[in-house]
Amino acid sequence: MNHDTYPDNYIRGILNSVKSIAMVGASPVNVRPSYFAFKYLAERGYDMIPVNPGHVGKSLLGKPFVASLADIGRPIDMVDIFRNSSHIMPVVEEALRLSPLPKVIWMQLGARDDAAAAKAEAVGIKVVMNRCPKIEYGRLSSEISWMGVNSRTLSSKRAPMPTQGMRLSLNRMSVGGGETAASDRAAKNKTETT
């Protein structure tokens, strides 16, 4: 898998097929990005499990925190890692000890560990790095367009009716709508400064 750019079908396929998501590094603080993503995904029907050893005993939007992936005690479809790149490998190794294995390992915006990704892909797990599932859901459903964000999708088809007021469906037919210089330049700047 090329982890610089992902085809929309790859991301949409993942978001359409997973039902349970364990979020490692979820925060109960309601201004943290992980809280935003957790709440958004929970509202769209995903079975969300907050994983954070610092908050065991508390709950996030009614879901009790667990200390580790092993403590979840039931199969999960996706592990969403809200940690810096340097903390990815141990989480992936922990995920690889689960039985059954998760179908997807997702690393948040800014997080990337190619060696960890290769380990997961070697056992058939799909990997996404340096993306946010909330942003990708918003982009592919075109909800994010309401904020003037370039969804990089085009469609001549009438989208499914919104549900619960303004929620748009992921099941929208679209084609790629161009690219931005942002990711390329960010990667280049990183190389220049390190």
């Binding site: 709440k39 904020m147 003037g148 370039n150 085009l154 001549s156 919104p162 303004m166 931005t180 960010a186």
Partner: protein
């Protein structure tokens, strides 16, 4: 397998727009409403807290305006955009996110006269200082940078002179200084030049000009390139520090590579208030659908008219970067190979009186203070926009007494040439 990338003309027609899910309307509806109902208290709270995508109030966002924003972001290759009431509003909203009293901006000396006024007078009253630099001398930008510099501002094709700016060279200065490069791309439009591809971080437009293109609606837009790290050295606290009104959210941390556009919306537009009318957004969107066709015709006509003027005995000189031998021809060929735009100046052997005469004798060209209309436009700056300046100041600002500015429209070029020919001979 990666997705196929659509071409510019396809994006100009489709980006941001899709059939309305409720009614099936294919054209973008005009959502002429101030406000949008909430589902429940939690939905309202999550929208106000920036946790959900959605609409609250048209000063902060509107679904018609959002189509325009996404379309221009796609055409410029940016991550997001924010439409505002005018090009001037775009500039003040951008700089409000970056500047505090005592901060400085380095700006190209060759700017639209209205921008020079805004920077010199309004911004000075905010305590924002401007250091002017000469786009023909890149080192002057380097010399103007100080520890207080927060941004560099240039025009891709400058108004009124039509000169082409070396964006990549100035982007290198900005990168070295650790500040964003802001490019006003009004006269080029992304059809001719995409500044983000050449190193710009933020693009602004007066949508009133070629993008809207029909001289009927004011508008402005800010495009976020998604390329600048606002949190690197804490120079931009509006983006990197917790925002008290949003319960401590950090804008860049939360919104990643479209954080600047969000800051312009939820801090700048919210507090300064220059919202774009959804009706204007609709008019401008309709204009953008034909941008590639119009812009090519504008450029082809402009080149033909410039060639005609260059050979006319009453004309002293023509400044059009599309002409071989022009001072900016090499830059035009590098940055704008499809055409050097449609706004340029020329000077008359007969001086001030000849300028006044020409304008009054033209029958197809309209004498007015705008550019980028389907109609051809003319103005004699020395007797109008720059009349309050003394002669030395007129020359310095590119508005010498013998200078006439044209904005070439999409009429038949032979008719434009015939009109100029009869007016020059009259």
């Amino acid at each position: 397998m990666t997705d196929r990338l659509p071409g510019f003309s396809t994006l100009a027609v489709h980006a941001g727009a899709q059939p309305d899910p409720t009614t099936g309307a294919r054209a973008t509806p005009i959502y002429q409403t101030t406000s949008f109902v909430f589902n429940d208290a939690d939905h309202a709270a999550s929208l106000f807290g920036l946790q959900s995508f959605g609409n609250i109030y048209t000063r902060i966002g509107n679904p018609t305006n959002a189509v325009l924003e996404e379309r221009v972001a796609a055409l410029e290759g940016g991550t997001a955009a924010l439409a505002v009431a005018s090009g001037h509003a775009a500039q003040v909203v951008v700089l409000q996110q970056l500047m505090k009293p005592g901060d400085e901006i380095v700006a190209a000396r060759k700017l639209y006269g209205g921008s020079i006024n805004q920077f010199t007078h309004a911004f000075k009253s905010f305590g924002w200082n401007v250091a002017w630099a000469d786009p023909d001398e890149i080192e002057s930008f380097e010399r103007a940078v100080t520890p207080h510099t927060k941004a560099i501002f240039i025009e891709s094709i400058a108004n009124p002179s039509g000169s082409v700016t070396d964006i990549e060279a100035i982007a290198a200065v900005a990168r070295k200084a650790g500040v964003p490069l802001i490019v006003d791309n009004t006269l080029a439009t992304p059809y001719l030049i995409k500044p983000i591809d050449h190193g710009a971080d933020i693009v602004v437009h007066s949508l009133t000009k070629f993008l809207g293109g029909h001289g009927n609606s004011l508008g402005g837009i800010i495009v976020d390139g998604g390329t600048f790290d606002w949190s690197k050295d804490n120079k931009y606290p509006m983006l990197s520090e917790p925002r008290p009104e949003y319960h401590g959210i950090k804008i860049q941390e939360t919104f990643g590579n479209f954080a600047f556009a969000i800051a312009c919306r939820v801090l700048g537009l919210r507090d300064l208030g220059p919202a774009l009318s959804p009706f204007n957004a609709f008019m401008i969107l309709t204009g953008i659908e034909t941008l590639p066709l119009r812009m090519q015709k504008h450029c082809d006509n402009a080149k033909a008219v410039a060639e005609f003027l260059a050979g006319h005995p009453a004309v002293a000189s023509v400044n059009y970067a599309g002409l071989p031998g022009d001072k900016y021809n090499n830059l035009a060929r590098k940055y704008a190979p499809k055409g050097a735009g449609a706004v340029f100046t020329f000077s008359l052997k007969g001086g001030y009186d000849a300028g006044v005469n020409l304008v009054s004798n033209l029958r197809l060209f309209s004498h007015l203070a705008n550019v980028g209309d389907t109609r051809s436009l003319v103005i004699h700056p020395a007797s109008t926009t720059h009349s309050q300046l003394d002669d030395a100041a007129k020359v310095k600002s590119g508005a010498a007494p013998d200078v006439v500015r044209l904005s070439i429209g999409i009429e038949d070029k032979d008719d434009l040439i015939a009109d100029l020919d009869q007016a020059l001979g009259a």
